[in-house]
Subunit: 113 residues, 2 copies
């Protein structure tokens, strides 16, 4: 049940958060957690690159950016959003979720009117 | 009056924008432009690292992220926000401006209640 280290929420900086969320894999994971709010999920249940070192790196970046809590349960690691995050940067994740759904990132898609 | 190249606004991706704005210098520049909306400013009027190559790099990243227009007027370069940006990612810059003002990034500041 060891919880991996995370920074105090007051020390988390906006630049670190934006940098963490700039990566599409990491943004996708966070927005999935947002949609299932309060739910803890197995890290293995997310679509991330397969290499273990890469996966570990992505989770660490998200922890250090103050976005998630992660615990090692022996039979796997589990993750959830930090509920203090929205108090630190109110509205940010909700807006990113809306923008991610609204703005097509497919260059072949027709322009929206 | 040569305008430097910028991507079509529909091709701009959220990840590229977040990455551009993760840097505190670039975020500061964009939020200053936001506060003086519609105003064009001399690039030289912004506080950025002094090295010309570094300054040029920061402006290029902001252009490629779809955030700014920049023109070379011979006697200097001038910059303004792209007015299409808010249509592409509605509310993002306004929210970041609020969060930047609201969340102290000074680790020595007392925690907010």
């Amino acid at each position: 049940m060891a919880e991996l280290p995370i920074p105090p929420i007051g020390d988390v900086e906006l630049g670190t958060v934006l940098s963490a969320l700039a990566d599409p894999h990491r943004r996708h994971v966070v927005l999935e957690l947002l949609r299932g709010r309060d739910a803890e999920r197995a890290c293995a249940s997310f679509e991330l690159p397969k290499a273990k070192s890469t996966r570990t790196h992505h989770w660490r970046v998200l922890r250090e950016a103050g976005l998630i809590r992660q615990r090692d349960a022996g039979n796997g690691t589990f993750v959830r959003l930090r509920d203090e995050f929205d108090g630190r940067f109110p509205g940010l994740l909700t807006l990113l979720s809306e923008l991610d759904l609204g703005a097509s990132t497919d260059p072949s898609a027709p322009p929206q009117r």
